[in-house]
């Protein structure tokens, strides 16, 4: 079996779907956060695959940007989650509904 572009894209889609449903269904902020990262990584897989099969560097360049942004996001996001936990003693999104009331 030769591993072609479609396989990579399938893997990417699968990872994205896992991440997406994770965001939709899970209640734990940390897990939702990891799922978001998973979606980002899924898109980088697709971009690298395109780059490899089209013999261009465009996709790879994009990946560097995404990784940079993701790293920055992790730094800020995790800090927010830690601060949130300190204040509320919970990171369950079901309980984080202060705006509604």
């Amino acid at each position: 079996m030769t591993v072609g572009l479609n396989h990579y894209l399938l893997l990417s889609a699968l990872l994205f779907a896992i991440g997406f449903f994770g965001v939709l269904l899970r209640k734990n902020t940390l897990v939702i956060y990891m799922c978001l990262e998973l979606m980002l990584v899924a898109s980088t897989v697709a971009l690298v695959a395109f780059s490899r099969f089209n013999n261009t560097m465009d996709g790879n360049v994009f990946v560097f940007f995404i990784l940079t942004v993701a790293a920055a996001e992790v730094a800020v996001g995790l800090a927010i989650i830690v601060a949130l936990f300190r204040r509320r003693q919970s990171i369950d999104v079901g309980e984080l509904n202060a705006l509604k009331n």
């Binding site: 965001v23 939709l24 269904l25 939702i32 999104v93 984080l96 509904n97 705006l99």
Partner: protein
């Protein structure tokens, strides 16, 4: 000091005085009156310096741009010709006399500061009208005199009649001013300028756009301010104000501003408009003299007399000019004009009517605020000085030869005789009636025996009240010598005086004496010094008719306001409730409220719900980008 600078000081000093009084001296009545009288002194000095200093037009005229809207420029400026100089001197002299008189008359008043502040703001506004060089500026100050008149009529505001009278004066004036404003706008639209000097230039080069509507609309302003028919109803009621106010505003200056304004816009006049103006004036003069006969309040008699004399001036203006065809050069030479006669009568009237109002103020003060002439009597002995000066005023208004009123009234009658016989007859009849009601009031007030406790204990006011009476009495005696025999004004007002139509020969003296003898004789014979009206007893039908004539405009307006205007207002209110506040305002707020309820339903507070919304939004955006939508 340049003449322009003097004019500016004359204009602004009363404003400064009013501001100082309003801001700092509301509780210090004595100080406020001092400030106000000082300001009036500055005004009198400034106006006399300007008028008799020989500074005219170019030396004084100045203008600054005040407001620019697109290609429309509103400027404020001075136009100082002989006409303005004459009016300014009248305002200055009478204003000072009234200010000084008020020192005595209002001495014990609780809200003296407000009164003197009002006088100052009035002086400022009136001088603004006099000096204004364009119609918009006249209009601004026109409204300001209206405001100060409102404040001063309302001085005894705890009296319901005074506050009603002030509202009436204001509202009736608004009706006239609406026409005035329309006239100004129309003049600007037709001639592209409302500057009086520029209008004069346009007239000289025969490029002025004439229309019947412009002068008639502008005349509406004069009808309101000078209380001509049919807007005369406010002036008699305005007598609710303190007597010095009646003398200054409602006799000598503000109500004369209408005539002054007409003289300012004389270039815009056309023959048809002049005819209308002439008839309005003649009818007002006659109507008011009829009304005056039944009055028992000393100030109301004077108020109707003022109306009547204002009608005289308006009629004189409307009679237009006397022209003479020069045989040798074949050109039409204007011998005299209505402006001359109107302004001449305005001048003498300002003197003798202010004198009589201040005299009545002195009587009212002496009798402890008794105004009913049937409760006076015998005041000649109690108040000899007031009696003598008041008698001079009565003689002047009746046209006793060689007094001021004789010359000016005679000029108007002469003009009427030359131009329009019907108007001449009406005006001559008015003159008879004038002598009649004036002598009636004079006799009932001063002759006979005192008919009330107040009249028995009447006394003269202090020097501050007698000195202005003296000055005005002198002016009422000599104010008419404006060129017929000799000219006490020198050459200061030549531009106006040269237009006075003087009659030659003995005829005016005979006419005048006949009028005086008929009118005054009838009054002297009919009225006895009694506590009841002799006319009412001898001929109740005639008295009832005159009272009906006097009251009918008010009745008609009351009916109109209650039955027509009020119902129309109720209809409008109904429509407003249904459409504006019902459909439009409530309707819009309902729609917005519904949107709000919908938007609130989306806001569930669950992160997952927002993710679904986000997904939904992305899907829509994707579909739109892919071209599946639209």
């Amino acid at each position: 000091m340049t003449p322009t600078c003097i004019a500016l000081i004359t204009l602004l000093t009363p404003l400064v005085s009013a501001v100082i009084i309003a801001l700092f001296l509301r509780k210090q009545g004595t100080l406020a009156s001092t400030v106000s009288v000082l300001a009036a002194t500055v005004v009198a000095a400034g106006s006399l310096m300007l008028a008799f200093g020989g500074h005219r037009d170019a030396a004084v005229n100045a203008s600054v741009e005040w407001l620019k809207l697109g290609d429309f420029t509103l400027s404020l400026g001075f136009k100082f010709d002989d006409l303005a100089a004459l009016m300014l001197s009248i305002v200055g002299v009478v204003g000072l006399a009234v200010h000084v008189f008020s020192l005595g008359y209002m001495h014990d008043d609780a809200s003296k500061a407000r009164f003197f502040g009002g006088l100052s703001i009035f002086m400022f506004s009136m001088i603004g009208i006099v000096l204004a060089d364009n119609l918009f500026m006249i209009f601004i100050f026109w409204e300001l005199v209206g405001f100060s008149s409102y404040v001063l009529i309302n001085h005894y505001h705890e009296k319901a009649s005074a506050s009603d009278a002030s509202k009436k004066a204001f509202i009736v004036n608004r009706v006239g001013d609406f026409g005035f404003l329309l006239g100004i706008v129309m003049c600007y639209w037709a001639n592209n300028t409302v500057n009086l000097t520029e209008l004069g230039h346009l007239s000289d080069t025969h490029s002025l756009v004439f229309s019947r509507l412009i002068p008639l609309l502008l005349f509406c302003g004069a009808v309101g301010k000078s209380a001509q028919m049919p807007l005369q109803v406010w002036l008699p009621d305005a007598m609710e104000g303190p007597t010095p106010v009646s003398a200054l505003i409602h006799a000598a200056t503000m109500v004369a501003a209408g005539i002054y304004m007409l003289c300012r816009i004389e270039v815009l006049m056309v023959a048809d408009a002049l005819t209308v103006i002439m008839w309005v004036g003649a009818i007002t003069a006659f109507y008011a003299s009829l009304c005056a006969i039944t009055q028992s309040d000393i100030k109301k008699v004077l108020a109707y007399s003022t109306l009547s004399q204002l009608g005289y001036m308006v009629a004189a203006f409307g009679l237009g000019s006397l022209e003479h065809l020069d045989e040798t050069t074949k050109t039409v030479v204007t011998l005299s004009a209505g402006v001359g006669a109107a302004m001449f009568h305005l001048t003498t009237h300002a003197f003798f009517k202010a004198l009589m109002f201040l005299g009545s103020g002195s009587v009212i003060y002496g009798c402890h605020h008794e105004q009913d002439i049937f409760k006076m009597g015998g005041l000649a002995k109690k108040m000899p000085f007031t009696f003598v000066t008041f008698t001079i005023g009565v003689a002047a208004i009746c046209g006793l030869p060689f007094l001021s009123g004789f010359f000016s009234k005679d000029a108007i009658l002469h003009l009427a005789q030359e131009k329009n016989t019907a108007v001449f007859v009406i005006l001559a009849l008015t003159a008879v009636l004038t002598s009649f009601y004036m002598v009636r009031m004079w006799k009932l007030t001063f002759l006979g025996q005192p008919r009330s406790h107040e009249a028995e204990h009447a006394h003269e006011g202090g020097l501050s009240m007698t000195a202005p009476l003296f000055v005005l009495a002198v002016l009422a005696l000599v104010g008419g010598y404006a060129g017929h025999f000799f000219n006490i004004y020198g050459h200061a007002f030549e531009g106006v005086w040269s237009q006075i139509p003087f009659a030659e020969g003995a005829e005016p003296y005979i006419t005048s004496i006949v009028i005086l003898v008929v009118g005054a004789g009838a009054a002297l014979m009919l009225y006895k010094s009694a506590a009841t009206d002799a006319l009412e007893e001898k001929s109740p039908a005639l008295f009832g008719f005159l009272a009906f004539v006097k009251g009918s405009p008010d009745t008609a307006y009351d009916w109109y306001v209650a039955k027509v205007q009020q119902r129309f207002a109720m209809l409008l209110e109904f429509l407003e409730r249904i459409f504006l506040s019902g459909l439009i305002i409530r309707g819009f707020s309902g729609v917005i409220g519904l949107i709000g309820i919908g938007a609130r339903a989306l806001h569930v507070g669950s992160l997952h719900a927002y993710v679904y919304w986000f997904l939904f939004g992305s899907a829509i955006l994707w579909a739109y980008a892919a071209g599946w939508l639209f």
